[in-house]
């Protein structure tokens, strides 16, 4: 139970030391190797995740549970894509699938963000009270500043918008960054000292055993 915590602390402290102090080449290359372990472990976990997902969909098809036909699509897509990739990752059919199916689907889904931002903005930018009214006015000024026609129609929005972004907004963001950095330091200390280990799936009762 203690091994993951000790390993986390040792490796974490090594990385901190490397950041602040000039290290011999052997030490630096050790740290580089340790960092590459993360990639290897992540890749192994990816295989596990894919396996679990395939078993899940296999079971759905087997038991003909709700929407089982979608699982057939997943299994077929997985077998074809993974099969072609394993045979030859530079194969034109494999690349065609990636370039003409995976990539555009991803881009299309990403583009949904624009529509959701619009409806989210409508939800947020309603002057329900003084706070939201200030938010609404500031958002309108910054939006007008950012669109080309805004600066032509209302020239004062440029200096006001720039001031809003760099002074009150900038100050707020810096405050958040300072707070977040302190939070990360606190988390680091708690994890390195082994006081907090819920993220390892170790619960309190076990800790006391």
């Amino acid at each position: 139970m203690q091994i993951p915590i000790i390993l986390t602390a040792i490796i974490g402290i090594l990385m901190i030391i490397e950041f602040f102090f000039p290290m011999p080449t052997a030490m630096t290359s050790l740290n580089v190797t340790l960092r590459s372990f993360v990639t290897i472990i992540s890749a192994a976990a990816l295989i596990l995740g894919t396996l679990v997902l395939t078993i899940y969909h296999g079971k759905k098809v087997g038991t003909k549970s709700s929407e089982w036909y979608y699982s057939i699509i997943y299994i077929a897509a997985f077998v074809i894509t993974a099969g072609l990739g394993v045979i030859n990752v530079r194969d034109t059919t494999f690349l065609w699938i990636y370039n003409n199916m995976t990539s555009p689907i991803g881009a299309a889904l990403y583009s949904l963000t624009a529509f959701y931002i619009t409806s989210a903005a409508y939800r947020v930018l309603r002057a329900r009270n003084w706070n939201s009214a200030v938010l609404l006015v500031c958002a309108l000024i910054v939006l007008l500043m950012l669109i080309p026609v805004g600066a032509i129609l209302f020239p004062p929005v440029v200096p006001i918008g720039t001031w809003i972004r760099s002074i009150p907004s900038g100050a707020g963001f810096r405050g958040m960054i300072i707070g977040t950095s302190l939070g990360i330091m606190g988390l680091g200390v708690r994890v390195f000292t082994g006081r907090q280990k819920e993220h390892l799936g170790i619960r309190e009762e076990r800790r006391k055993e």
Partner: protein, 259 residues
């Protein structure tokens, strides 16, 4: 050869002072002197959301967005989200709420499975847990449509948006709001904090995400570390005031800071 890498002396001093004060407060709590901490509203909100889900017979979603365990800036909020997940899953098991945790990264998936499994075991409810349906691995990209679709078909009653959030913050929270879910959002990615604050019913801003994990811990020495972090805030406030004065009187402090 310099003993310390150039430009990092101030960073090292700050790190030593702040970590030193965190350890000091933890030690102090160990000897019985526990500092008084403000109760975070989110602690009650977790129960409120799960209770609502139980009453309505609908599931609660625990979403963490980007959980890339090999990116340092994402790792910290992800670990914090796992710590909150440990508590939330346990409360969900205790209250009997349906719970769904989709994860888009293999390593994070194994950790999330372990965390949820342990939470149900802690409540002696492992018989009620269908792990492969509760914690699900969804390839990044495909997760968006899957989650949105299931938000509507499941008519989820509550959602937690905790961790490192990027563009999906808008997509998921907006859909959750339309479904009528009660939401708790929290992230440290500054450009997405406004979305979570604006759309979610309750929110954790920046460091509160890290503080909540410590606050929920049953170990008082862990929550005491939050008092140590406050020393860092006092130092930051002092340096901001000092820096403002020095710049106002025309002193160049850039050279001092790049030591």
């Amino acid at each position: 050869m310099a003993i310390i890498v150039e430009g990092r002396i101030f960073g090292l001093i700050a790190l030593l002072v702040i970590t030193g004060s965190i350890v000091y407060y933890m030690q102090k709590a160990y000897s019985g002197k526990i500092p008084k901490l403000r109760r975070l509203q989110a602690v009650d909100v977790i129960d409120e959301i799960l209770g609502r889900c139980v009453e309505m017979g609908r599931p609660a979603y625990y979403l963490m967005d980007t959980v890339s365990m090999d990116t340092p800036s994402i790792l910290a909020p992800t670990v914090a989200a796992f710590q909150i997940l440990a508590y939330t899953a346990r409360r969900a098991a205790h209250l009997g709420s349906k719970f769904f945790v989709p994860v888009t990264q293999g390593l994070a998936y194994t950790i999330a499975s372990e965390v949820v499994d342990e939470a149900y075991k802690a409540e002696n409810k492992q018989d009620e847990l269908k792990l492969e349906e509760t914690v699900m691995y969804l390839p990044d990209g495909a997760d968006r449509m899957y989650i949105i679709n299931h938000m509507w078909s499941d008519e989820m009653a509550g959602a937690f948006f905790l961790g490192s959030w990027y563009h999906k913050a808008v997509i998921f929270t907006e859909n959750a709001a339309r479904v009528g879910a009660m939401m708790l959002g929290g992230t440290d990615t500054t450009h997405n904090i406004p979305f979570l604050v604006a759309i979610c019913d309750y929110s954790l801003i920046g460091e509160e995400l890290y503080a909540l994990g410590a606050y929920l811990s049953e170990d008082p020495t862990v929550s005491a570390s939050l008092a140590g972090q406050d020393i860092g805030k006092y130092i930051a406030a002092l340096l901001i005031i000092l820096g403002s004065i020095l710049i106002t009187i025309g002193m160049d402090i850039k050279g001092l800071l790049s030591m």
